[in-house]
Symmetry: C2
Subunit: 250 residues, 2 copies
DNA sequence: CGAACTGTTGACACCTATCAATTGCGGTGG
DNA sequence: CCACCGCAATTGATAGGTGTCAACAGTTCG
């Protein structure tokens, strides 16, 4: 595939325009696409970590298995995301990663990221920015877990996914496909699947969302944001103008 | 003060040995120390962001004010930490920052970090690693908020602080000073101050901790870790050996 | 058509929030 | 040095949200 079509390049260009050389560096990360089917575990927590991968197609999630027997889903990955970025500094994977749907991933060794840091200041800052944004997503979820009701948590997550999906697919209408089971939603939001079911039903009855299998229809996105007391500051991915007059490359 | 004594250099050297030139770059971040008293707010959420600062002395925390009137403390900063690193990519501060005790901070503009990225691959990777570690702390707290009881949350936080403090002050015995009010603990762990009080009292009665004003004594750190089902993987700050054969500086 | 999984619904228990009153502590001024 | 004030911490009673257990319905896929 031509570099221009790569998800990861689109993702990076969301933050900053890239030169052909920079695009080439990014494209080189996706030299070895691997097809993976739904339910495949890319790696397990605790295993030695030596690689990242980019997600070219399909959804994935990372998770932690807890001593108490339950499981916490940490992050939902969409096409264009780099999986494992957070674990760069660690020798073992802190989280396992599993595919939600069939998809395609491209593994690349940690060393490649160092080369990227060495070769391009722009890619370095954008990578750092992507990491920052990921962290902001975590912070928002942390807030909802600490302080919000089950209904607010679900409203918040649905709104977040709506926004994230619209950033890559600007025209998608009021509905989107959410290929997560209620068990997975519960594992993500710290709820039991039973309570997820009850809460989603209540939200449907109140006309906040409509559900059809795995398709969610949001008739009034502002009402959903209101319900979640959503803070859209953190999804703003525009880099500060500062970067325009960044110090010159060496 | 001589560069060797700076908290932030000690912090960075925890990850990787630094050359004199690299130490100098770091020391240059701390050119303008400012004394700040307990309760001072360094900046508020939503305000335009143009600076980071290093924390040279004293404790601080970052927080979010929520629509529902309560407040979520996101992060506790100790001497040697860089405050605001997470907000690098954003134009506005996502979080406010307030001093817990009297202390000293050194502001420096965002641009300085770009210069650091440009001038030293080692400092770039260590900065990225520090950001990763911060993220790992967040993940752990997210897990405890999602799935653990009040007692487990408190045990976990106390254990985490114990470990973090020992990393800078290796010999400190079984007790440490924790200058946080129960209101602040509640805001950090998603609990009401009333319930924090009850839970700490119960932990004291069970001999898990002893309290004296703001000093916490942990007679059996392993018991505390057990109680919290603590995962010490994420506090492991040793960079992977990979960094030893990092590509040469340009 | 049946098995296995996912989602729904009901009854009940438990943890934590809420509201309120009281105690203890630190700082201030007489 | 002591009385006083304000804040932090404690303790009690009650309410509410979510977990747990269990049964049942619906969907998917062989």
């Amino acid at each position: 595939m031509a570099p221009e079509e790569s998800c990861i390049i689109r993702h990076f260009e969301h933050y900053r325009r890239l030169s052909p050389k920079e695009k080439e560096i990014l494209a080189s990360l996706e030299k070895a696409p691997t097809a993976v089917s739904a339910g495949t575990t890319l790696w397990q927590e605790g295993k030695a970590a030596s690689e990242f991968c980019t997600l070219s197609a399909g959804w994935a999630y990372s998770y932690r298995n807890l001593d108490c027997g339950s499981r916490q889903i940490m992050e939902i990955f969409l096409p264009g995301d780099i999986i494992g970025l957070r674990e760069f500094a660690f020798n073992e994977h802190l989280e396992g990663v599993t595919m939600i749907e069939d998809g395609t991933v491209c593994y690349f060794p940690h060393r490649r990221l160092l080369e990227l840091f060495r070769d391009s200041l722009t890619l370095t800052t954008v990578t750092f920015a992507i990491s920052n944004r990921q962290q902001a997503l975590l912070c928002e979820r942390l807030v909802t877990l600490a302080r919000h009701s089950a209904r607010q948590r679900l409203a918040h997550f649905l709104h977040e996914m709506y926004i994230r999906l619209r950033q890559t697919m600007p025209e998608g209408g009021p509905s989107f496909r959410l290929p997560l089971s209620q068990q997975q939603l519960g594992d993500l939001l710290g709820l039991t699947p039973v309570h997820v079911s009850r809460t989603l039903s209540a939200m449907s009855e109140d006309g906040l969302i409509y559900r059809n299998h795995h398709t969610i229809n949001v008739p009034d996105i502002k009402a959903l944001a209101e319900e979640a007391s959503f803070n859209d500051l953190y999804l703003n991915t525009n880099l500060r103008p500062l970067f325009e007059d960044a110090p010159p490359e060496s």
